[in-house]
């Protein structure tokens, strides 16, 4: 990762008609060679952000720069270096995949057919059919080929694996990792946290148009809490744990006690030291659990 900023927004906001605020003062930086996950539930403002970056819609205030160029005034030069997959991919139903690839390629200034065929082979995609004959997953594959075929410096992918089967998702992850290895940048919107967990370097979490957090995925994975399950020798073994600071979601079932634990482990171990512990399991939470916990905390703070 070179550290050059590929994408930078400053107080980027978008207000639609009837005063609907879709994005509120987004300030974000994505560096070259990074796979950046852009997370949030449906309606959070992810697609609005992407459409602002592509100059499909215009900001109400704030700025966005890609490759150091203004997303509004220098959009043409920016779009020459971008591969884009929309969340809802609508293509020309009566055209074949190959015809669409040639069209998109010709607008870009040329088609790299060996790359197209290599991508089609890896994604197990038949290029000869008309779009209307493809399943949802196959349409998605075509969208990925269109986005990736020119080996763009920046891939902007909106919900890229929506409709792909698990095997194809893994191939997509490989393609993203290869792009990163070549020094290219990927900006990936998703609400599938396992996907972000699998391929992203950093994530931004968006809710109701407001950026909640930006964090490295590996830090986020270590940041919050652990699932702890303890089997005691006696049924009343874990009672003292329920009041320990950092313990939440506490459950007891006979000699088995399960809870979530946040913070340093010394106090927990000190309590357990006086108990007769048979087994103890400590599991990392998934990013999804961290994400939900993150929202729980926020909502708790707000109320």
């Amino acid at each position: 990762m070179s550290g050059t900023n590929i994408l930078q927004t400053e107080s980027l906001s978008k207000v639609y008609a009837k005063n609907v605020r879709a994005l509120d003062s987004l300030s974000l930086t994505v560096r070259q060679g990074e796979v950046f996950g852009y997370l949030g539930p449906n309606g959070a403002g992810k697609t609005t952000t992407i459409r602002l970056l592509l100059d499909l819609i215009r900001p109400s205030s704030g700025t966005a720069r890609l490759f150091g160029l203004d997303a509004r005034r220098e959009s043409l030069a920016i779009r020459g270096r971008i591969g884009y997959l929309p969340a809802e991919l609508n293509l020309w139903e009566r055209q074949t995949a190959l015809q669409i690839i040639r069209y998109v390629g010709s607008v870009r200034g040329g088609v790299d057919m060996p790359t197209v065929r290599a991508l089609a082979e890896r994604l197990q995609f038949d290029l000869t059919k008309r779009v209307k004959a493809y399943s949802t997953g196959n349409k998605r594959k075509l969208g990925l080929i269109l986005a990736m075929m020119n080996k763009p410096d920046l891939l902007i992918l909106d919900e890229p694996t929506s409709g792909l089967d698990p095997l194809m998702q893994q191939i997509f992850y490989e393609l993203v990792r290869e792009a990163r290895a070549e020094g290219r940048t990927v900006f990936l919107s998703s609400h599938i946290l396992s996907e972000v967990q699998a391929i992203c370097d950093r994530v931004a979490i968006l809710r109701s148009g407001v950026l909640q957090a930006v964090q490295r995925v590996d830090e986020l994975m270590h940041a919050d809490f652990r699932h702890v399950t303890v089997r005691f020798a006696h049924a009343d073994g874990g009672a003292a744990l329920s009041t320990l600071p950092g313990v939440s979601s506490f459950r007891r079932d006979g000699a088995l006690t399960a809870f979530q634990y946040a913070g340093a482990f010394d106090p927990l171990l000190a309590v357990l030291a006086g108990q007769s512990v048979v087994t103890m399991d400590i599991d990392k939470p998934s990013l999804e659990e961290i994400f939900l916990k993150f929202y729980d905390h926020k909502e708790g703070d707000e109320s």
């Binding site: 639609y16 459409r51 592509l54 100059d55 499909l56 819609i57 215009r58 043409l76 030069a77 779009r79 020459g80 270096r81 971008i82 884009y84 929309p86 809802e88 991919l89 609508n90 293509l91 020309w92 055209q95 069209y103 998109v104 010709s106 607008v107 870009r108 200034g109 040329g110 269109l146």
Partner: protein, 272 residues
């Protein structure tokens, strides 16, 4: 990296040339049929005589007040085909005008196109140029079909030069309807609204023209200034020749509508 020159233009031609054949031959056969039903000069005179028995309103509306002109083969074709040919062409040009931006924006395909290195201006201009060329193709095919119909009725003395002028005269009005639709697409974006407004403009314009010709001293006579069909004048252009002033005016308004469409499309959010 900027996109290849005329890639959008070439793709538009590739996708829509079959439609040009369909419309050109279809409209042409409609005109050819009018020639084929005429067998001799006597039948034309009978029609002219019949027209003179009708109330003046009808003679004004459908023969421009000149029933004897109807007794000529050119006059008959003018009133039975060229008087409304632009309305039929409007069905084609509104359809292809929607293809410039409105259809793709409505279907979400515009997001894919505008994520490519192509400006909105270039997109509209290349597509409109392609559809203008295809409209020329429809006009030429129409002329060829009518010529075929006339050739099949050798008993009638028809000046093909005048018929050719009458057919080519459809082109400026068609381009105006095309660019009107492009303008509305650039301004509004919603396909249904664009289609409705364009169709209403054409139909109202046509009705005003008919009523204004039939009753020139009324409000319709004043409103006729704003009717596209006043400048198309499909009936008498065959008798009197091409009115260059009208042609230039229609082309200037077309250019203005196209420019307005480009400006409007450049200024607004797409696909919202």
């Amino acid at each position: 990296m900027n996109g290849a020159t005329l890639a959008v233009f070439a793709e538009t031609l590739r996708r829509h040339w079959r439609g040009m054949l369909f419309w050109g031959i279809g409209i042409g056969l409609l005109g050819a049929m009018q020639a084929l039903v005429l067998q001799d000069v006597d039948s034309l005179q009978q029609i002219a005589d019949l027209m003179e028995t009708l109330p003046p309103f009808f003679v004004q509306a459908f023969a421009g007040g000149d029933a004897q002109y109807m007794a000529t083969a050119e006059g008959y074709l003018a009133s039975q085909f060229f008087s409304f040919a632009l309305v039929v062409f409007a069905a084609y040009t509104i359809g292809v005008g929607l293809q410039v931006t409105a259809n793709e924006e409505d279907r979400g395909q515009m997001d894919v196109l505008l994520s490519l290195p192509v400006t909105r201006t270039r997109l509209i201009l290349e597509k409109t140029a392609a559809f203008a060329l295809l409209t020329c193709g429809v006009v030429v095919l129409t002329l060829l079909c009518i010529a075929g119909g006339i050739a099949a009725t050798p008993a009638l003395p028809i000046d093909m030069g005048r018929i050719a002028v009458g057919t080519l005269n459809i082109l400026p009005g068609s381009l105006l309807i095309l660019t009107l639709t492009v303008f509305l697409g650039g301004l509004i974006g919603n396909r249904s609204r664009v289609l409705t407004i364009a169709a209403v403009v054409v139909i109202v314009s046509y009705v005003i023209d008919i009523l204004a010709v039939a009753a020139p001293g009324t409000l319709f006579g004043t409103l006729r200034t704003f009717s596209l069909f006043r400048y198309y004048d499909g009936v008498f252009v065959i008798r009197d020749g091409l009115n260059l002033g009208n042609v230039v005016l229609l082309l200037v308004v077309s250019a203005a509508l196209l420019g307005g469409g480009v400006l409007a499309f450049n200024r607004r959010d797409v696909g919202v």
